[in-house]
Symmetry: C2
Subunit: 169 residues, 2 copies
DNA sequence: TGACATTATTTTGAACACAAACTAATAAAT
DNA sequence: ATTTATTAGTTTGTGTTCAAAATAATGTCA
């Protein structure tokens, strides 16, 4: 009965739920680093590096939806742990090419999942319709939010006939 | 067609979507602090303080699903900006009572929404069924994740008869 | 060639978020 | 009454994340 507290269906409820979810994910990440030595973002980045073999920070940043500055920090820690090597590209000396070490491959082989195993299990056991409902809900949110970041572009042109876009934003 | 990339429906896709969503929310928070002076977490906490009038750090931590240490940091910044005051409780001198200042009420009155206005608008305009689908999907995820955080406790008591808990863990 | 712009990465500074260790005060137990 | 445990809050250390400024290399245009 408590779930009707805040006018129930608003975007505030969405935010509250999302914050709980992300907290849970963050807690798992922090437990990973103890049991396994790497946090989730580190693991995500390392996976991506391993999948591509030889990449630049910018490519990784784009692939995992993080800023370049963030990638730099993660690279630093991965390098310190001997999981990647960095060297300047010779044909464009602005670029830094990153490569996974042998350690990295070994490490990834025994890597735990990025979310609590019990969650993964539980999620996989859901009915197909529920899994797709959840996933499509999330992707709906992604598209609703992406809209503003990209925002300027396509739709607004059409809608602007009705809603004249007040500079602002 | 690209959406089938990663074995498609797994919890990895869920995580990827969630990370994009939270990034978007974080970016908004960072833009808030420039236009308005407070970040989302600060605003969330301040709202909660204002709603309760006189509260302790622990109560707020529980109400907004953050650790006490995090609340301490946020209180510090809110205090520095003159939005709350802290003083020891006289009947239990461990407690620190927090109160919103007059500034705070003024501030909250003109506070922007916690998510991009364009998102809020777009979300409110969705069909009712879609809003509830999204919200209930999120709450489903919350409950699936909560399960593990809670679960540890009750079992151990029973199991400890068989497994004498080796310090470790 | 020299001035300017663009691109790739790093550095800096701020905030958030946690656990673990710590301080201080209260409560319980011997 | 003294020890011990619990509770409330802070401090410390690590990691994530971003924007903005700083480096550095490449490209462009005059």
């Amino acid at each position: 009965m408590e779930s009707l507290k805040n006018s129930g269906n608003g975007s505030d409820s969405v935010l509250a739920a999302l914050r709980k979810i992300m907290r849970s994910i963050d807690l798992h990440s922090k437990s990973l680093v103890k049991r396994f030595g790497l946090t989730s973002p580190q693991l995500i980045v390392l996976r991506e590096v391993d999948a591509h073999g030889q990449v630049t920070a910018g490519e990784i940043a784009h692939a995992v939806s993080l800023s370049q500055a963030t990638i730099t920090g993660i690279f630093e820690r991965l390098e310190k742990r001997g999981l990647i090597t960095r060297k300047r590209s010779s044909d464009d000396r602005r670029r830094i090419l990153v490569q996974p070490t042998l350690e990295a491959t070994k490490c990834l082989a025994g890597a735990p999942p990025l979310m609590q195993e019990s969650f993964v299990d539980a999620f996989e056991k859901l009915q197909d319709w529920e899994k797709s409902m959840i996933l499509s809900s999330l992707q709906r949110l992604v598209s609703l939010m992406d809209a503003q970041n990209i925002d300027a572009a396509p739709f607004l042109a059409a809608e602007s006939l009705e809603t004249p876009i007040n500079g602002e934003n």
